[in-house]
Symmetry: C2
Subunit: 569 residues, 2 copies
């Protein structure tokens, strides 16, 4: 490809709406163009990168005995009604009707379509296990698209679905896919990606993992143990607090606390530690606005994923009305109205000498003792894991919370979809059973952005060779110089003839422009032909990451470049 013909412009200025580097470089480098909020077109540079990523995904899926299929982007609502997700998924799923008023949806994931495709095929145990996958466009009507390709509404995804006759078989295949995913990240230049236990959310199922690139610009929070290999999304990570010294129980005492509403205020007023307070957080059910009051230790935050998973329905922060009987700012576990669901976080179990609301305007209690004053209640884990929590694996207080970009996920789905959609098989003993499913996703564009986040400098991306848009960026500095032009033209031809992917820049622009453009395109190997080099009978070869810088004699430059590429790591 000649640079002068390549569609797409490059810019010097960082666009003001780009909050992450990958987005800024992809806009500045002519990789992508915004079409609407969270919807982009790809220029040739990005298309070349995503096609290489897709090919790696395809190879690894094929190596895992996957069979490539294709599901539709547009699906009938009836398919999603079968699984129950037409009702349970919110606004992120686009719904519309066709010319005959039949309800349709845009696919945001394809479990239903996968079951529909193989429901008839998989009727005998002898057909199992099998895995089908596709690489296809998806649309998710995100409330807040952000960060360029990291959170978009329309995206290309590799999604795979495996079907098994036993949980053991699923688990063994799940482990195989975990390895395949590790190979994928390794191959695209992200060996540092880690897998973390995660919440399966709307997918259903129990065991699931997210693959995370740890980076401060990530959207997810991950609890990482500094002592062992425990890692989990904060949404799912157990919150285990270090134990505190036992104290003698004080009496429950009412205190007049006018104008004091928050945990910060009450603790300041009482000169006490937030850990010695009992915080109330109030939610309402999305379905019927019923109140849910959750009590937890004052210094902790609620993990809403754990809460909704426990409840089995979605909630939103409460709007507390007079009729509720609740006293905002003064809610506590003693003397609460009976008409709401009350939950207790594990952090309160066995604690005493706490401050809490007295369910009366302008009054708090001190000296709350959970067992004595609240009685025999159940405690569950509803709190967000935080810095200093105990690791659920090694037990050390070595949990830290890091940010990460989720670049893939795998789920053990169980029989959620096969059961709801009536897919069965006859086992070897003649019994009817539901197949057990796994599913496995990687977003192509987000992976490209994550690679860019992990591999760039102040001037642009540094693409790993495996996904680079071209292998060699050939710069003919002063192409108006006859010898430079003739040599560079010939080198371009020779390299292409030998199967090397070359981007050739023979534009009549200053070397500075040429090199800053090359920095934005991030091609791993740069070859420079210039009048001074030609005079010395050499070409300069530098790698985009600056680890390599050498000269090659002009007559054997093509061969030398190919050797460098063959030995590339």
């Amino acid at each position: 490809m000649k640079m002068e013909n390549m569609v797409g412009d490059r810019f010097k200025e960082r666009p003001s709406d780009c909050v992450v580097d990958s987005h800024a470089y992809m806009v500045r480098g002519g990789y992508m163009k915004s079409v609407a909020n969270g919807i982009f077109s790809s220029y040739p540079v990005l298309k070349r990168i995503t096609r290489k990523i897709e090919q790696i995904l395809r190879e690894e899926m094929d190596a895992a005995d996957g069979q490539e299929v294709q599901f539709p982007v547009v699906m009938p609502a009836s398919l999603w009604q079968e699984s129950g997700r037409y009702a349970s998924i919110g606004k992120e799923m686009v719904r519309f009707t066709d010319r005959n008023q039949s309800p349709l949806v845009l696919g945001m994931t394809h479990e239903e379509a996968a079951v529909q495709l193989v429901r008839d095929y998989g009727q005998s145990y002898a057909k199992y296990p099998f895995m089908i996958y596709q690489i296809q466009t998806k649309f998710r009507d995100e409330a807040r698209p952000r960060a360029g390709l990291i959170r978009v509404r329309e995206f290309t995804m590799k999604d795979a679905y495996s079907f098994h006759t036993s949980q053991a078989d699923l688990e063994s295949y799940y482990a195989r896919m975990h390895k395949a995913y590790e190979r994928i990240y390794e191959r695209v230049g992200l060996p540092q990606v880690v897998s973390v236990a995660s919440d399966s959310g709307m997918m259903g199922g129990s065991v699931s993992h997210e693959f995370m690139l740890l980076t401060p610009v990530g959207e997810d929070s991950i609890a990482v143990c500094q002592n062992c290999d425990y890692r989990a999304n904060v949404e799912t990570a157990e919150c285990i607090l270090p134990s505190r010294a036992q104290r003698e129980a004080e009496a429950l005492t009412s205190v007049h606390t006018p104008n004091i509403h928050t945990i910060e205020e009450i603790c300041a007023f009482l000169h006490s530690d937030q850990r010695d307070s009992c915080k109330a957080v109030v939610y309402q059910s999305n379905a019927d606005d019923r109140y849910i009051v959750l009590f937890l230790r004052g210094d902790l935050e609620v993990n809403e994923a754990k809460l909704t998973k426990f409840l089995g329905f979605d909630v939103h922060p409460a709007l507390i009305t007079e009729e509720s009987g609740l006293t905002p700012g003064y809610i506590g576990p003693v003397g609460l109205p009976k008409n709401c669901t009350v939950l207790y976080d594990r952090s309160l179990q066995g604690t005493n000498n706490l401050s809490c609301g007295a369910n009366q305007e302008e009054y708090h209690y001190t000296g709350l003792c959970m067992t004595r004053d609240v009685g025999n209640v159940e405690y569950h884990d509803f709190a967000k894991a935080q810095e200093g929590c105990l690791c659920p694996h090694c037990g050390k207080p070595t949990i830290q919370v890091s940010r990460g970009i989720e670049v893939g996920n795998i789920f053990q789905l169980g029989t959620k979809y096969t059961q709801s959609m009536g897919m069965t098989f006859i086992d070897a003993e003649g019994h009817t059973q539901y197949p057990i499913m796994g599913c496995y996703g990687i977003g192509v564009g987000r992976l490209a952005a994550a690679i860019c986040e992990a591999h760039h400098d102040d001037y642009g991306p540094i693409w790993p060779m495996s996904v680079a848009p071209w292998q060699v960026h050939l710069c003919a500095v002063r192409a108006d110089h006859a010898e430079v032009k003739a040599y560079a033209d010939a080198l371009y031809q020779t390299l292409q003839d030998n199967g090397v992917e070359v981007l050739y820049d023979d534009r009549a622009v200053r070397a500075g422009v040429m090199f800053s453009d090359a920095d934005l395109l991030g091609v791993p190997l740069r070859v420079i032909v210039s009048p001074r080099n030609v005079e010395q009978n050499i070409v300069e070869v530098v790698s985009r990451d600056k680890r390599l810088s050498c000269t090659l004699d002009m007559p054997c430059a093509a061969e030398g470049i190919q050797k460098l590429l063959a030995a590339w790591e």
Copy 2:
């Protein structure tokens, strides 16, 4: 791929809803599964075929200096409002709103997106010409999906858009793309595809061609000259009638014709030729229901594409009310109410002695002479070309009408989109101009179906090698026979190691089942290992199209098969 692992079932019975062979074989052979009306999932067999077609398309587009990009499936309505097509395109475009009530559409073509992508890039003449293309999902809410992959609602399309600074440059590139399309059809095994002049319909622009596979199951009608190389879609083909002998004009005479309403009835009543009648066809404007009365020779049919192109707006067959002043069944050119648009087809120009309605219940005229009785009106071409028309190129009465499947189209768009969307460039003289566009489409699935229509026998498809899902179908008949199994396993391995794509059937099924499955999969070369063959130290090799049938000695079979593949035509 081992047959026993391949997802998808094969059936013996032709499904009753399949009206064309390609659809029947693709359902029976486990190629595709219906998800909703006009929406399908692809099983691995079809996915392999479409990927091969896509790769051929990509290679030919790249060879024509195309640059692969990607546009979104979901686009903001605003983009289509810019071009005016948000209003002008009907129900075939899906419209919906996102969670913020912003109107969006599903892409059914991407002229607007193409202009949006390069509007900033193409500001200088020096950037031209360039061509961008994508291979991507599209959705068109067809009123009547039919014939399997031939007319669907969701489909994968290769669509390309070229941009030029002059009409001459567009024309030369258009010719180049015409050649690229010919190569594509040649490469996928359809050298018989012909290009025909066509109407550009909703795309705008003037010159356009459709590429047609002529077949009785096609949806389109094509006027084909039996004498020269003239071919045109009947929607656009000029209707030129052979001239008839001049006759002396009779007087305009009113005739009482009770209960006579149609051309057939009046001609039977008068014992006259339909060519001696003047037929009225009444339409109404979609926008304001205004009446349009079109007169044409009694034996001809209206070409609505020509009519709407002439009018510049869409129409529908009229619902004639009393207020209209029209007398259904008795409408004629003499004494018509003044409040409707009246059009005359060329077939009536200079004719006389015609029968026609008298605009009065139960009365017709005979002896209508157009020049004498209707006066000085304009005549235009509104009639469908039909068998026996004169060829517009060679002038002979050798037009025949054939059926065809449209497997591609190319359009000279002019400045319709660049002008409406404000895309300009500065020419070499410093003047601002609108770029001139061409666009070029091929539907991948429909092309696969067309190949199947052209290449099948009574037992299934016969895929051309270039698009076949596999090159070799290896049948181990009686794989329970140790020698058969050992040899076939080894041959499978050797062929795969040498890069041959092999589908390997070692299932414990009867030879009849194995071969009828193989017929449905249509792999070009079949290799049969059986106990009898092993005894004779041979393998049987037969081509799916039966032109080749030979044996190879077992020790050199792999080599022999590879030689056959290398020499394949």
